[in-house]
Symmetry: C2
Subunit: 414 residues, 2 copies
């Protein structure tokens, strides 16, 4: 089955909104072993949308569309679709009752304008919207292409896709299971080289690699006649991949580096704290991203000025005078000072030159020192990211700091 | 002129990579008064790309395409495009010399495989790549549609578009000027209501609104026979918009809330520090995003645990016992303690319940207190964001904290 996505709305085409719905749908479909052939983004206007419907109708068997279902006059998806499939719009009493009920829940009466949202093309079906007012719908074109229309608001699209579209509209020949393996501190090409056979297309287990700096997620999707069969095949491939990348293996599930850090600390009853200069709070903010981080994370020190490093962490002024704030010695002193003042067992530090200015021949932009200590044993790592821009240097340094913590926690062999 | 974007690559369609090139191109074109009608994303394969070329050829006059120009066998854009326009690929000596020169710069010899990148369809032209190996090219279809092909790597696409495509390939009837006005602490609908006439389409000055929580950017693009004329028209509309939103007006340029904070502090010679609980370092990280923040930003305290609030900021334990850590009193004590210990003149604090758990009837998830003090005068703001998810609550709270600083600095009327 060929699948196309159709994203409707002027706000996507003029750059106001970045389309993230496509990525969500693509990843969800991949987990069912389904591929997207095309994504077409088009404006709200009748001529544009009519051309888009025609093009998709010719190219694929199923179109998952989103956007243009609002109550205002410029959201004309319903009317244009009805004209395209040659069916009248009919008023759906049940849909209107649900829209009214949703408004009443928030203590308001449904405005008359929202009544338009209960108009659906004849011959199709309604799709419930558990989190918003606009119901979705599906309809078939004369040539047999199925079109599914969902709202453009990401939270509404997600729920509708998962609860209404995925179970009812998508082919399910056999069973699918999916699993994610996470690897830290390895490049995509290095890990990819070790599992090249697994990454090749074909076979019942499909393997995809999703990289971000510091971490690779390997997503496996397995197909079988029964769930048991699918799971057995997946287990085999997963074991081979896990073995091949054993020295970087972090764990299973769609998780982040900071989740692995918090989990490891929780498991071992270890408290943690961070002292940051160039990352300026990014490491702390990532740790606090994790719900329940409060059970292990005590505090963060953003010691941006040299005075703060001295006053807050007790970094000896001589170290800064002699070696500079961006030095192995300073990173080490920051960890040692933080351990004394915070009382946390695991302490990490980051100090570097994020740029764009501030670099020298000896200490170029992109040079960062990362310190990490557990119960008094301190290690410092020297990183040279180059002049990749302030945002990139800080993001990479923050991720390398989390990796240093994992290394120290013994989650990963060095 | 109708414009379409064509983004080529399996990695976009299977959700590994989020396409941000489209948004860059859309925004750049908007600043020249040009609109994108369609964006089509398609896979590398011959059948898919051929269909995509045909569809775009029929729908628009200019196609800006990216991706599939790499040296490996699966990057077959050149071959498929040549077949589509009915021209042979010819070997461009100059392109190959440039590829070799680029490799030599990094101390390597160009691999033989990269020679493919010097093959260009006859009858078109080469586009220089100042930051990567793959040259771009343009070519015209038999029906007269111009196709421009650029690399998929964002940094390469940006430079090639700005230096080669924008000046040479895009219509420039008359002159265009663009300007951005920033407004803080107002919703898009409220500001939009006041400038509804300006936002309407038509006329020589186009006005677009780009919203994020806490800040609205109004982008004006003006067209005239001369730059002077375009600028004069823009000035008039900009003045009306600035006047209508005067109480929220922050300044000009494509800037962030944190840039306005750092700039205001620099202008007034005021130092600043922040103490964060639920935002966990996000406010500090945003401030450090600004190059040169070191001139005013002294330190950040991520006092996540109650003990850290007491030890680091001197928050009286009685306040936490009596009112809780999430309270007006605690937010105030955090500001007062931070002012004492950091010596910064402008101090801000954030304490709240980001969720998903930890809420109660009296203090629901999404309740956040933001404190801000300048030279001893402290104000506390109470915010109720609702259970919108941990990430949203923390992002909104961080932005509201920056807005509170701007308010305190007198940049914005309350």
């Amino acid at each position: 089955m060929r699948i196309g996505l159709l994203m409707i709305g002027d706000e996507i085409l003029d750059g106001r909104i970045l389309d993230t719905n496509s990525q969500f749908l693509e990843r969800s479909l991949a987990q069912r072993g389904l591929e997207v052939s095309y994504v077409l983004q088009c404006r709200d206007g009748e001529k544009n949308l009519a051309w888009a419907l025609e093009s998709m109708d010719a190219a694929v068997d199923l179109v998952l569309a989103s956007g243009g279902l609002g109550p205002t006059e410029d959201d004309r998806t319903r009317e244009i679709v009805a004209a395209f499939v040659g069916k009248p719009l009919v008023y759906d009493e049940e849909a209107w009752a649900e829209i009214q009920a949703r408004f009443r829940k928030t203590g308001r009466e449904a405005p008359e304008a929202n009544r338009r949202q209960a108009l659906l093309p004849e011959g199709g079906g309604k799709l419930d919207n558990p989190v918003g007012t606009a119901p979705g719908f599906w309809v078939e074109s004369p040539r047999g292409t199925r079109f599914v229309f969902m709202p453009g608001v990401p939270s509404e699209l997600k729920r509708m896709f998962q609860e209404e579209v995925l179970p009812r509209m998508l082919p399910k020949e056999g069973a699918f299971v999916t699993e994610t393996l996470c690897f830290g501190g390895v490049s995509e090409s290095e890990l990819g080289g070790l599992i090249a056979d697994e990454l090749k297309e074909g076979g019942d287990v499909r393997v995809g690699s999703y990289a971000q700096y510091g971490m690779i997620r390997i997503v496996l999707t397995s197909k079988g006649r029964t769930e048991e069969e699918a799971r057995a095949k997946l287990r085999e491939t997963a074991a081979r991949i896990q073995e091949a990348g054993a020295r970087w293996y972090l764990g299973r599930g769609d998780r982040s580096l900071q989740e692995f850090v918090v989990e490891a600390c929780e498991g071992k009853g270890i408290t943690l704290a961070v002292a940051e200069s160039c990352t300026g709070g990014k490491v702390a903010a990532k740790l606090v991203d994790v719900p329940g981080a409060s059970s292990v994370f005590l505090e963060g020190q953003v010691t941006y000025a040299n005075a703060a490093k001295i006053d807050r962490l007790g970094v000896p002024p001589e170290i800064i005078e002699e070696h500079g704030a961006v030095s192995e010695e300073c990173a080490r002193a920051m960890v040692e000072g933080l351990a004394r003042t915070s009382g946390a067992r695991l302490c990490a530090s980051v100090t570097g030159i994020a740029g764009p200015s501030g670099g020298s021949v000896e200490k170029p932009v992109g040079l960062v020192f990362i310190g990490c200590g557990l119960d008094g044993r301190v290690e410092v790592f020297r990183k040279t990211y180059g002049a990749r821009g302030r945002a990139v240097v800080r993001e990479w340094a923050a991720n390398d700091c989390l990796l240093a913590m994992l290394r120290m926690l013994g989650q990963k062999r060095p």
